[in-house]
Symmetry: C4
Subunit: 283 residues, 4 copies
Amino acid sequence: MTKSRPDAPFSLAADDSFGKSRLRGLRLRLYIIIFESDTPAGKAFDVGVIALILASVAAVMAESVQPINLRYGEQLRAAEWVFTVLFTMEYLLRLYCVGYKMRYALSFFGVVDLLAVLPGYVALLFPGARYLTVVRLLRVLRVFRVLKLAVYMSETTELSRALIASRRKIEVFTVCVLTLVVILGSMMYLIEGEENGFTSIPRSIYWAIVTLTTVGYGDISPRTNLGQFLAAAIMLLGYSILAVPTGIVTAEMSRPHPDKPVPTPAGPPEPPPNYCKHCGGKL
Amino acid sequence: MTKSRPDAPFSLAADDSFGKSRLRGLRLRLYIIIFESDTPAGKAFDVGVIALILASVAAVMAESVQPINLRYGEQLRAAEWVFTVLFTMEYLLRLYCVGYKMRYALSFFGVVDLLAVLPGYVALLFPGARYLTVVRLLRVLRVFRVLKLAVYMSETTELSRALIASRRKIEVFTVCVLTLVVILGSMMYLIEGEENGFTSIPRSIYWAIVTLTTVGYGDISPRTNLGQFLAAAIMLLGYSILAVPTGIVTAEMSRPHPDKPVPTPAGPPEPPPNYCKHCGGKL
Amino acid sequence: MTKSRPDAPFSLAADDSFGKSRLRGLRLRLYIIIFESDTPAGKAFDVGVIALILASVAAVMAESVQPINLRYGEQLRAAEWVFTVLFTMEYLLRLYCVGYKMRYALSFFGVVDLLAVLPGYVALLFPGARYLTVVRLLRVLRVFRVLKLAVYMSETTELSRALIASRRKIEVFTVCVLTLVVILGSMMYLIEGEENGFTSIPRSIYWAIVTLTTVGYGDISPRTNLGQFLAAAIMLLGYSILAVPTGIVTAEMSRPHPDKPVPTPAGPPEPPPNYCKHCGGKL
Amino acid sequence: MTKSRPDAPFSLAADDSFGKSRLRGLRLRLYIIIFESDTPAGKAFDVGVIALILASVAAVMAESVQPINLRYGEQLRAAEWVFTVLFTMEYLLRLYCVGYKMRYALSFFGVVDLLAVLPGYVALLFPGARYLTVVRLLRVLRVFRVLKLAVYMSETTELSRALIASRRKIEVFTVCVLTLVVILGSMMYLIEGEENGFTSIPRSIYWAIVTLTTVGYGDISPRTNLGQFLAAAIMLLGYSILAVPTGIVTAEMSRPHPDKPVPTPAGPPEPPPNYCKHCGGKL
């Protein structure tokens, strides 16, 4: 169960998928440091990168807070440039030392590594884009590899397995919910009208989603009697509907053998064939 | 498991329920194009209809947005007329080529096909009614047939089976919740009174449903101490009550054999009868 | 499974618990009409009572709506008096014809029958009390008996069985949640203070319950940074906590045999003893 | 199943972990009264302590209510001092009579006992701190021991077992949710901006948590079209995500044998070896 499975989204390139076997000398040494964490240097590198990521996300978050920005704005922007340059160098190093460059660049974490540096440069044109550097946080998911916690990996794969196995049911469910929400939203637009905040069908659909998911902001809420009646019906419906995805995922998780997706009780067990020892005949 | 079941709401007329065997010539050819999707023409027809539906729903939604309506209102209303005429022609064609007309007209999708065109004409008298044409969206559920995704069909029937099997439990549950909500709403009307927004018992019941389902808009909320105490009790109650429909559906979904509604462990399995080979007697 | 069980809250006195065997003549005839529904008269009586209950609840609800009250207030109040008198007569008749009077008076529906008439008289002193007559609605739960729907009865007993079986777990859970909510409420009172709406610890506890149950009115919400941080932590906690009662009830409902509360897989099944027919010896 | 398990958080020191065997004379007698509840004196002591705790928490709560504080403020503060002194004496007595002092002081209830008196003294410097004395409420959890309800203990250990067993899955889930929430919050900060209430990234993250957990206060809510679209997507996502922890806990609770974490169906049962009576050979 602790074996990493190739179909899991978090399976990391411990195998040769990035072409480690083709590497020699400096590139191989770099590869072992950057992509693996079995050596002390590799572990230190990973821990350092994670510390940098958390620090850079904290800096971006701090910069968005007005009072902090007014006092430390310049230092924070400077720090962000340092982080962006460091992560760029790391990305280039990864690209340099990897065997199959395209395969890395298009892998899940390859794309995330790129997304972690791009917003820093886009911010030269559109200043707001630098807040998107929080995407770097996705890289922290690598923490599971650094910690070498095989148990966590197996938990993760078990979670993803349950989600993947119930994918189709959730798709059918989502199509039904979206259809329902468009129809209910249009009815409420008709019933409540613009004077009660249902200014358009898209906005009424937004309200229907807010209601059906039981979020219920209250920024838009029905005021007419008929509208409140329909809303109450929608809520009771949402109540039962809420049970469906929970049921799907739970039923999937309760299945005992992750490797064989057969239904639980495998039918009457076949007793082993009995042979009568003294006559040799099958009983 | 991929066999379509007649009791499922999405079972489509691939069989002879619409009287295909009675058709000849043009009607048969039309039937194969319109109702089936095994031929290239049938598939193209279905894909075209779905594209038309999505376009017409998008047009209705766009029209309800004030700024868009001011600029493109006339074009959108013209487009809606085109859509209504097209869907009317399609409905008449379906009626024409089907064998048993009433059986089609009263089937789930037969009613939906009619509802998809009616609001367009009703809108001549009541302009608002045209927003109800979004009901057309229900026809998109046919997409599952077009895509010929037997897997999705089986997922859908499994979902509906679980919901149908737990129907009675959900009915009992709903009657209990409705009774509870009327009593709680009346008590809150007494406690809070009109000055705190609980202007009538029906509105207090609306509040009780908003609270029990954990939607919680906040448009009406208790202000007195006793009211807040009772509301808190209702919420904790709702918390436990929320568990009931989830439990019902989950328990139903965890049942392994969809075709035999027997409880999970079928008791001690019956070993196959053993015969003693050398004496021929049953052991 | 359709056998009514004495421990279920909805088991109705079809047996001799109300002393039917001691009745003779008029009292017996009345008993059969009023308490049973096997005869046409008994069924008609039950259906009539349910119609009266629904009508009286509708009248009370209508009276609370201001515009209706202004127009039809007098008629509605007159109708309520008629209902109260009718239900009083029914209650006295029930008391008269029942064998063991105290046993009926103290049974679940005996108390509900009394509660259904009391508020009408209390309203002479406290006018608001008449709204409490909606308690009559509980009597509609008898509808399950009238409809003779054994299936519903079994569903109901299954639901109550699951709730009763998980009673202790839910009690432990409730004590833990209440403790948590008091401590969190007090902390938020300290952090946010009266200027942000957390005017006292009881009100802060009310806020904590509103938040933990994900109702989230928004009438009170944290404004300080520390308060919002703690609130976010409470929500994520509530998210996981929400899973507990659902898990309890679902696990209980998934148990296959309602009558034997043994855990699902009963261990290796015992094969029936095999005897060798031709030698008579046990194999 | 009613056996108390040492790994459960509520397992109480009925064993020798606090060094009872080393005690003699007065200390032993005090130990039996204070730490155990098998003797009448021990039971009376426990019940008295619980009454004191509930009274002191009620006093703190009452003091925070403005009108009550104005009238009875002095008496309440005096009562709180009495409670604090009493609990201090109790804590010192516990420390005195226990065999291994450090082991008690660092145990779960040892820390809670200390936390129950500390705020009373800290309040001399920071008056607000006295509200933290509600932490005393945690001591009421000892009530389970006093009541000697082995059943409740087993329910409690079963609940904690399920939570502990799903600990790692919940950790993985929490890390994923936190990452998601930071990224979504930053995107909403960019889209909505400060003029719509999303004044900083931390506040936007707070909003994302409020939304994803379906609490939905409505103190901050998206106003732009793009923001409402993204918010609706987050809600539908949260809907499915909500299913995950429920699934985890439910699947854990449905496991039949708490002591053996083997998956439910134990595979084909092994039939007992059959011996042919008339030939003595193993079949």
